[in-house]
């Protein structure tokens, strides 16, 4: 936090001592008020070049130059102060979110205790690939989801890191097998059980292009075959043939520094609600409850 504050304070301090100009609008009315014969031009490096054309006003223009330099710095200083205040407000907001999560987690906020999980049939988790490498954090997240009662989860990261680690998750949350391959009827394990789908960038746009290829080869290469007008059903069936059999996620929780879906399968995001949860290492149980609760309360029009 201290480093964050200093990063924003440093430009403000620098602007006091350094030469930084603000805007033409600041200088032009000042010059016209003093009725000086002069011109202002801007170099490529955005420094001001002030060229007095009247020799008599040269000393006055030098004073003016110093004044405008000071006033430009003052304006910039105040901008950085405002920026610092807003940044501080963001810090306060994060603190409040942490408090909110604590209150929700410990049951002080009653509205989030009874979730209508029937509305969240399929939950999607998008992870930044760097963060997905932190398996312990991912396992903890899945344990929280399991405790909430989520049964079907789609895990996505762009590079397929989660796909490579899927045995870890399947062992922890899927069916447990003993050496003679009997399924364990441990009630604790069955309560924790979740169904997983692991997807990556190859299941997104690349898969749609492959599905299109499948349709072209089936209907359009052979000159004698019937050539239908493609519909969504055609493409959906082609995607299923290629292994994309799972439904569209109802809710997508995005963990990472960037608020975008990182290339998650475009075909499956029609009416999916997306919530950015912040970096995975700062995940909070209460905020997951809040996101799911909010989703269950939203009226879905599904395009109507």
């Amino acid at each position: 936090m201290i480093d964050f504050v200093c990063r924003h304070l440093r430009p403000a301090i620098t602007s006091i001592g350094g030469w930084r100009a603000s805007s033409t609008d600041l200088l032009t009315p000042l010059i016209s008020t003093l009725n000086l014969n002069s011109s202002i031009s801007i170099t490529k490096s955005r420094n001001w070049i002030f060229t007095p054309t009247d020799q008599n006003s040269r000393s006055m223009t030098m004073d003016l130059l110093a004044e405008s330099q000071k006033s430009g710095n003052i304006v910039l200083f105040f901008w950085h102060v405002i920026h610092l205040i807003i940044s501080a407000l963001y810090i306060v907001r994060e603190i409040l979110r942490a408090i909110e999560s604590y209150l929700i987690t410990n049951g002080y906020v009653k509205t989030h205790t009874n979730l209508n999980l029937d509305r969240v049939k399929y939950l999607g988790i998008v992870l930044d690939s760097d963060e997905a490498r932190n398996t312990s954090q991912v396992v903890e997240l899945l344990e929280w989801l399991s405790a909430i009662g989520v049964k079907k989860v789609c895990l996505y990261d762009r590079e397929g890191v989660l796909k490579k680690s899927k045995e870890v998750f399947m062992e922890r949350f899927g069916y447990a097998k003993i050496p003679n391959e009997k399924l364990v009827s441990n009630p604790l394990l069955s309560k924790k059980r979740m169904d997983f789908e692991f997807v990556s960038i190859s299941d997104g746009k690349e898969l749609v292009a492959k599905a299109a290829n499948l349709l072209f080869k089936k209907y359009y290469v052979d000159a004698d075959s019937e050539k239908p007008f493609f519909t969504e059903t055609h493409l959906t069936d082609a995607l299923k043939t290629l292994g994309a059999v799972e439904p569209d996620p109802d809710l997508l929780l995005i963990y990472g520094p960037v608020r975008c879906n990182l290339g998650f399968s475009a075909w499956r995001l029609r009416y999916t609600e997306m919530v950015h949860m912040g970096p995975l290492m700062y995940k909070k149980y209460g905020l997951i409850l809040k996101a799911i609760h909010r989703f269950t309360k939203v009226k879905q029009n599904y395009g109507s």
Binding site: D130, A209, F216, V221, V258, M274
Partner: protein
Amino acid sequence: MDPSSLTSNKEGSQGYQALYDGLQADAMPKHVTLFLDGASRGQLKDIARICCDLKIKVLSVFTFSSGKDYQNLLMSKHEEIHDVATNIMKLDLEDLSRVSVIGKRTVIPDSLLEIIRDVEETTKKNKSLQIIEAIDYTGRGDIIQACMALAEKVEHGLIQPDDVDENVFQQELETKCSEFPNPDLMIRTDGKYSIDNFMLWQMAYAELYFVEKDDFGFNKTKFIEALDAYQKRSRRFGGK
């Protein structure tokens, strides 16, 4: 930051100078997608003006309404595209915006189609801002029509099925009318957190900015706030 380096229209932008302070010209999104509810529709002109000032190249607009049946929805869209088209032509900008319309034109009456073609033709040479208006457009529908366009090429032997990849697909989408087809920033103004089947393919790496609905509605100040929030986030487009 010198705001005058951002602006291209000195007269129109003076009122917005204070709003532009703090924005970085080199971190401006090239393409912004705006989900506008009916109440915020009136702000479109101001937002288009800001986009021109800040050298944002493309503004795509998706307007949704609530509770209307399909015919009424289509009629209201007709009025909206007519209003947007004529309002844009009356904007006091040095370079008028270029208007493009995407969506299924088969359901639009001929009289309105004529207006759309006229506006597109009249504004096609304008360079400062392209406004993409979506009428009866869906993301999945766009992907399907790209499939059909490629299927015809396969049928005529212009392309082999195995040559079709993401890049070839992208070039057949309706946003091929734009130099910057993929949104960098998506702003939704009605408090919902989904993209509602809009530009599904194109928004793979778009920053998603959802605005909570309030009594004041979405306005130019909130638009600038969205741009400021966009510039603060690090974007890697899926890379490292």
